[in-house]
């Protein structure tokens, strides 16, 4: 920049700065609007859930003037909530334990041994990330019927585990490759067997990846509707989602029952994600390959 044009560019800079300030304010307002749009549907559900039915009928869009827990109690009963919650937690627990154990164990040789057959086995698992459940669901139904696992939690847990293993293996193998082998070598010289080395040395080092995977598994299993409506029959066996679907018809049910049901469905997840907060973003972005 030459000395002569400096004065002119100063003026220009000032204009640009003013424009930037205005643009920034407009940006703030737009961001505010987007934020309201994103949170309003959920906030609306929460606020309606705690209003008495009569108030909602009078003024559907109003803010709560009186608060009641009656709606939540009604939804609790209509969704068969205690039983559904127990079923969902059981299925989630079984799926998490199996996926994490089998996935991390398989990833150990897949990431430590650089042979042709391990690479091929790894590829075979990765294929699973691009298969939509729709291709598998009918043959799985027949297979589960043949095995007598239709309507059982075991069947559903196995279906989820098989579906989530490719994701678990993808992340565990890339994680284990970054773990140095010195500790394992030392333990091996001390005479420790592979199982001991894996569970006492390698697995604890995978902790952060494991927690991230749990958030991913929780989100997939908790919110899934397709597998439970097809493989779990009967309200006694249903998950929160399948029972909410079976018992609540949005066209017939009062919003004052529907919205508490939504709260009851999502609160356990919100609690889990709040506890594991720093792993959540990693978990959500790790869904990137699924």
């Amino acid at each position: 920049m030459s000395a002569i044009s400096t004065g002119k560019s100063l003026v220009l800079n000032k204009v640009v700065t003013n424009r930037n300030v205005i643009m920034r304010r407009i940006g703030d307002v737009l961001l505010g609007i987007v934020l309201v749009l994103m949170l309003a549907p959920f906030a609306f559900a929460v606020l309606t859930a705690i209003r008495p039915a009569a108030d909602v009928a009078n003024d559907p869009l109003g803010l709560p003037t009186r608060i009641t827990a009656e709606n939540v109690a009604t939804a609790f009963a209509q969704m068969n909530y205690a039983q559904s919650l127990w079923n969902t937690v059981l299925i989630l627990f079984g799926t998490s334990v199996l996926t994490i154990t089998l996935g991390s164990m398989a990833s150990y040789p897949l990431s430590r041994i650089g042979k042709r057959w391990t690479r091929l086995t790894y590829q075979l698992f990765i294929i699973g990330t691009s298969v939509p459940i729709w291709v598998l669901i009918a043959p799985l139904y027949l297979f589960m019927r043949d095995l007598g696992l239709l309507g059982s939690f075991a069947g559903v847990i196995l279906i989820y585990t098989a579906g989530l293993l490719p994701v678990a293996i993808f992340f565990y193998t890339s994680f284990i490759r970054q773990v140095p082998t010195e500790l394992e070598e030392a333990a091996s010289i001390d005479g420790a067997g592979s199982l001991r080395i894996f569970f006492l040395i390698v697995f604890p080092l995978l902790g952060p990846m494991t927690v991230t995977l749990i958030t991913y598994i929780a989100l997939s299993v908790w919110n899934d509707l397709i597998v439970p409506i097809i493989f779990l029959q009967g309200i006694q066996n249903g998950t929160i989602m399948s029972n909410a679907y079976a018992l609540l018809n949005p066209l017939v049910v009062q919003p004052t029952t529907l919205f508490p049901a939504i709260l009851l469905g999502v609160i356990p997840l919100i609690v889990l994600f709040a506890v594991l907060q720093r792993y959540v973003i990693a978990g959500l972005t790790s869904g990137a390959i699924k």
Partner: protein, 291 residues
């Protein structure tokens, strides 16, 4: 060490391979076989070769469902990534607000598709919140029976998916923004680049990897969409939201005579998903390399 003992290595792999082989690979192969038969789900079936595939190529229902699914995917991919990118940029430029708002926008992602559909079925009902708001701000002309009108139903379903995942897309774009070297952005600012130039010449090219991930993810997710049309319209009105997944579900589980045919449609969906994801990845990766 496990590296020197292949048998132990196989022992480590066996449990996962068994579960995956039995409940993913075997059904995949059995499904492919079933799609070549006239099975109705019972024990008896006849091999009919490619008949089911021949039939679906000429089936107007499959044509219409494919078109609707692609339309749906285009709406979702374009809008979700546009909104996600804008949101990510707004958050990137506001470091103080980033943490709190960045977490809040992920809330819709936690709400199950079924529950999100419940919320929107109420908000977009004929006398629901949206129509009341439109009346309130003096735009009653814009009121619609959102899920009952063939011209608005598909877009109104897409709105739910976009609402759920815009925060998620923004999270990935924001990670991309945070990976841009600070010096480049500073250099642009010192040279007096306008906000748009800054975006067009520096940020947009450097966000190429995030764009690849976000577009591929939203593409796969929207081609497989099920819960939203299933709960909100069940394919109606007048078939205007009958996606491939709904067609598969209805054929396989509600019409025994179409059991095997439904599986054939599912394989058509698999091909559609894999081919579009592959094209998107190749095109976007090539673009990354060019930039």
């Amino acid at each position: 060490m496990i590296t020197k003992r292949p048998l132990v290595a196989i022992g480590f792999l066996l449990p996962a391979l068994t579960a995956y082989g039995l409940f993913t690979l075997y059904p995949l192969v059995r499904g492919l076989w079933l799609s070549l038969t006239d099975s109705s789900g019972g024990p008896r079936s006849n091999f009919i070769g490619l008949e089911n595939y021949r039939r679906l190529i000429f089936d107007p229902d499959v044509h219409s469902a494919t078109l609707i699914t692609i339309q749906y995917a285009v709406i979702v991919v374009v809008l979700q990534n546009l909104f996600g990118l804008l949101l990510a940029r707004a958050l990137f430029e506001r470091p103080h607000a980033r943490r709190v708002i960045g977490t809040l926008v992920l809330l819709p992602t936690l709400v199950a598709p079924l529950m999100s559909s419940f919320i929107f079925s109420y908000l977009l009902a004929p006398d629901g919140a949206l129509n009341r708001m439109l009346a309130l701000i003096g735009l009653p002309g814009l009121q619609h029976v959102w899920y009952g009108d063939p011209t608005t139903a598909l877009a109104s379903i897409a709105a739910v998916q976009i609402w759920m995942y815009t925060g998620y897309t923004a999270t990935i774009f924001l990670a991309g923004y945070l990976a841009i070297p600070r010096e480049l952005l500073e250099a642009g600012r010192i040279d007096g680049a306008t906000s748009w130039q800054q975006f067009r010449l520096i940020e947009w090219p450097l966000l190429a990897p995030s764009l690849t991930v976000c577009v591929t993810l939203s593409l796969i997710g929207s081609l497989r969409v099920f819960e939203f049309p299933f709960v909100l319209t069940n394919g109606g009105p007048a078939g205007s939201t009958m996606t491939l997944t709904l067609l598969i579900f209805n054929s396989t589980f509600h019409a025994a005579s179409k059991f095997a045919y439904g599986i054939a449609i599912a394989f058509a969906l698999l091909v559609l998903v894999v081919v579009s994801a592959a094209i998107a990845t190749v095109v976007l990766r090539a673009r990354e390399a060019r930039i």
